[in-house]
Amino acid sequence: MNNTFLILKQEYLKRVKKKSFIILTILMPFLIAGVYGLVIYFSIKDDTEERTIAVYDESTLFLGEFSDQGTTNYHFIPKEEYAQLKSKIKGSEYYAVLYIPGTIYTNNQAQLFSEKQLPFELTEQIERKLSRFIENDKRQKVIEDSGIPDLEDRLEKTKTWITLNTLKISDSGEAKKSSSVVAFIASYAMGLLIYFFVFMYGAMVMRSVMEEKKSRIIEVIISSVKPSQLMAGKIIGTALVGLTQVAIWVVLGGVGLFIVQGFFSPESAQQMSQSLMESQGQMNPAMAQAAEPNKVMEIMEMVGNLNLPLIMFSFVFYFLAGYLLYSSFLGAVGAAVDNDEDSQQMVFPVTFPLILSIMLLFPIARNPEGSLAFWCSIIPFTSPVAMMARVPYGLPAWELLLSMGLLVLTTVGAIFAAAKIYRIGLLMYGKKVNIKELIKWLRYKN
């Protein structure tokens, strides 16, 4: 026990004292926030490229109607110029050439020529312009034909957008505002986090074992301590590194949330959401109308309404159990191989269920009550990721307990199997090891 503690301490301090650990732990949240920030920034940023699009309007419907929008200008050209330009856009002043055929009114088709891949926004913008114009035109005709004088106003009033306020009834009968979007994001994020943690720290254990074997210090170490003590110390020490990291992030996150809450006081939240609505307004005026102004506060409330204590508890549980399961396998792999190439080959089959679960994370998070989600979250090898993706939505207690129980049993079994492989593998050099060989080792007596 004393030895296990010594090893644990050594492994823990060795990693936590590393500069790279400190820097990474502090920078990681900012890095992630930064990446998401950039993605959001670029997706809402105004398109600043100056473009001129040549328009040849065969239908003659649009004359004068095609207004410039943002930095995109439209320039009408005659047929002859169009014929020339179509074959030679390169070198001309135009970014693209829009051909509006005479048949547009009936078959709803137009063509846009370009020698470049066109941005999605641009094609969407043109489609919207064309559609809105034709639609208005058609409607105008219907209104005129009907002979009802204020039909246009009356039709305008029929436009409707219903906002669905999702409320979740808790066991005590209390209704809480929930949001499937918030739950989805939490679900996806939790699954990803578990995956990264289990993989990262499991691989860390494997590398640590391999380092001892490759540097040949291992024989000295196991002449002082039992291999099982060595492995236990290593795995627990590394787990504590992971928990330290999570604890630092929770503290950083708490401080961050505090600052954000101060920043988003009700007034500033209103401002913020108004500007948010404005940008959305272009897309769908009906929706903007329906949305309440203090949307940010509402999201905060929805986050608060997630079962955070259960999520935290499940996260720590599934991280520890999943990590123990995979790190004992990876530790055994590290002991069995004596070079990097062999370890690469062995890591894949061992971690395959984990990789599978991350590939299935999206469908699981989207449909947390489906049979895929159910089975993946019950089967122990995929359950750490899959169950974490389900927890934010809430689920029956028996499913959670069954999943946890199975995972614990499997993990205990895995530790015993891994300890055996580990002990045999440590002093085995120069032997090409594969899964079949490892299974043979499991059958060795004592």
């Binding site: 010594l6 000295v220 170490i221 002082s224 004592n446």
Partner: protein
Amino acid sequence: MELFEARNVEKVFASTKALSDVSISVQEQSIFGLLGPNGAGKTTLIRIINQITAPDKGEIFLNGKPMTRADISQIGYLPEERGLYKKLKIGEQAIYLAQLKGMSQRDARKNLKYWFEKFEIMGWWNKKVEELSKGMQQKVQFITTVVHKPKLLIFDEPFSGFDPINANLLKEEILNLKKEGATIIFSTHNMGSVEELCDNIALINKSVKIEDGPTDAIREKYKSNIYDIKYRGDFKNVDLALGTAYEIISHSENQKGNNLKVQYLNGNSNNDLLHALMQAAEIISFEEVIPSMNDVFIKAVQESNKN
């Protein structure tokens, strides 16, 4: 008194027998040589002593009691394939390794200081292993083996990979440790060091112990009636006088006197040989040739392979 004993130890790996019915006993404060060709089973025996592997059959005793896990802190082990943590500082990892052997951090630091100063390597304390040469690493490895003052020291091929200066240092330190009360078991292929250091040996070949006992007695046992003789006189006369009862192995002449190596065949004695020689030449010296450990090793192994 016996410090260590292995009784009827047997170990089988998959299909190959590594040790069959091997027994050795090691006297307290002595140096014991474990000899044998590659693959004979020496390292397996050493790992069994260190409780890295368990024997299939047989028992091992320390101080007359069956050895337990707790006895491990009384052993210092320098394996044949030895290493250190590459990224850790020397001092730090030496303390860690000593702690794993049950020392407190304070004692470890104190003892390490003594050894580091003795080997004049105090300046390396904060260096990483990857910055040191192989010879430097060997010194550190030796220190980490002896720092917890073990009663029993086990060196597996300690001289392999050592340069002559370090090998000599190691030899001196092994003798010093013995003087201070330690018991030492070492395996080696360096037969010169066996003659110099070992009080007793055991010779293992193909998993079986084929010879053991005091080093001198074993060499004595393998002598084969060969004599080194210095004389003044004519070789022709000597040759004639010895006749067919003796075989001349080698002969050389120089100004100080002639040298002759003779083996006598069965039924003769030293006096017979001397008598025959005296009639032909003036004898300066007469000495029986004791075979080197090298010769003993080769002879014993070859004989055992024939059977």
